[in-house]
């Protein structure tokens, strides 16, 4: 029995080392301690009635929270700059759908095609997240999601936000 335990400890240490290595090297690495919503029912996906076949996939709050921890994922705030400055999902870029032509060229400089993108707006009363998501797909971005719960659901769950310019 003592052999079993000694070997088990050894194997666990080996796994620890490999896990730390892979979480340093892999593109989808996540922080060792993450932020998770404390709300029940965060795994229900809100899909707007206007959704159509071929739209980017809609994701739930918990999927958005999970993806936000991957270094490979960028949030896109489709709201106006005032809303974005007042408060946004931490790390999000502002790509206001109503002024897309003014922003597109400069913002997309920071948007490599091989990353994953999550478009959001205020919440389930706005459609700009979906419209932005469609535009992204049209522009050749392949990994695009729409988080229709949006800013409101994110903030209420106590997940990381940023404020200011």
């Amino acid at each position: 029995m003592s052999t079993s335990i000694r070997q088990a400890v050894l194997l666990t240490i080996l796994a620890l080392i490999l896990a730390a290595l892979s979480n340093t090297v892999l593109p989808n690495r996540i922080p060792y301690v993450g932020e998770w919503p404390s709300l029940a029912g965060s795994d229900s996906v809100i899909v707007p009635p206007s959704a159509e076949e071929g739209d980017p996939p809609f994701i739930s709050l918990d999927e958005a929270a999970a993806l936000s921890q991957s270094s490979n994922v960028i949030f896109l705030d489709a709201r106006d700059p005032e809303d974005y400055i007042y408060g946004r999902i931490a790390g999000a870029l502002n790509l206001p759908f109503e002024m897309l032509d003014d922003y597109w060229d400069s913002v997309t400089l920071q948007m490599p095609k091989d990353k994953q993108y999550i478009a959001y707006c205020s919440g389930d009363e706005c459609e700009t997240s979906l419209l932005l998501g469609r535009e992204m797909v049209y522009q050749g971005y392949e990994k695009v999601y729409v988080f229709f719960g949006g800013w409101r659901e994110w903030e209420r769950a106590g997940l990381p936000v940023e404020r200011g310019e």
């Binding site: 052999t3 079993s4 335990i5 000694r6 070997q7 088990a8 400890v9 050894l10 194997l11 666990t12 080996l14 796994a15 620890l16 490999l18 896990a19 730390a20 892979s22 979480n23 892999l26 989808n28 690495r29 996540i30 922080p31 060792y32 301690v33 993450g34 932020e35 998770w36 404390s38 795994d43 918990d62 999927e63 929270a65 999970a66 993806l67 921890q69 991957s70 994922v73």
Partner: protein
């Protein structure tokens, strides 16, 4: 009576049966973690949805657990550190069964996170539980079986 015991012992200590089952269980545990290693954030979300761990431990578990599975699977196939890997595998299977069992009682529609992190793979908890029972039975058999004939390095004890 004597001959029954003899054939029973032959079953328990059969080298070939042990080898086949060892490779079977090992391959399962090598294959199972691959998807989870590539998409740790999605595996973390599945662990989060089990509602069993404090949120500080969710990511750590999502990073470490697939590698414990993979390491155990590889060494089991090779027949190195077999006792330790079987102890860990049987322990993990027991923990998985408890986790699935709790969510079966809670009546939650569960994403297993067993072999894939795709959110389309919702599974029936009872089926998952039975599958784990089967694997645990194999794991316990291999623990009892003392065959070292096909081990890469023979352990002395």
């Amino acid at each position: 009576m004597n001959s029954i015991m003899k054939s029973g012992s032959r079953f328990v200590h059969n080298d070939y049966l042990a080898l086949v089952l060892r490779i079977f269980l090992g391959v399962i545990f090598v294959y199972a973690p691959l998807d989870k290693i590539m998409e740790p954030s999605q595996f973390a979300r599945i662990i989060y949805n089990y509602h069993l761990l404090p949120s500080e431990l969710i990511n750590l578990m999502a990073i470490l657990l697939p590698w414990v599975e993979l390491v155990c699977g590889v060494v089991l196939i090779l027949g190195v550190q077999k006792k330790g890997s079987l102890l860990l595998l049987n322990f993990m299977l027991t923990v998985f069964m408890v986790a699935i069992g709790i969510n079966l009682i809670r009546n939650v529609d569960l994403e297993c996170g067993c072999f894939s992190v795709s959110s389309k793979s919702k599974s029936h908890a009872l089926g998952l539980l039975l599958r784990d029972v089967g694997m645990l039975a194999i794991g316990i058999y291999l623990m009892i079986n003392r065959s070292t004939r096909f081990d890469l390095f023979k352990s002395r004890s």
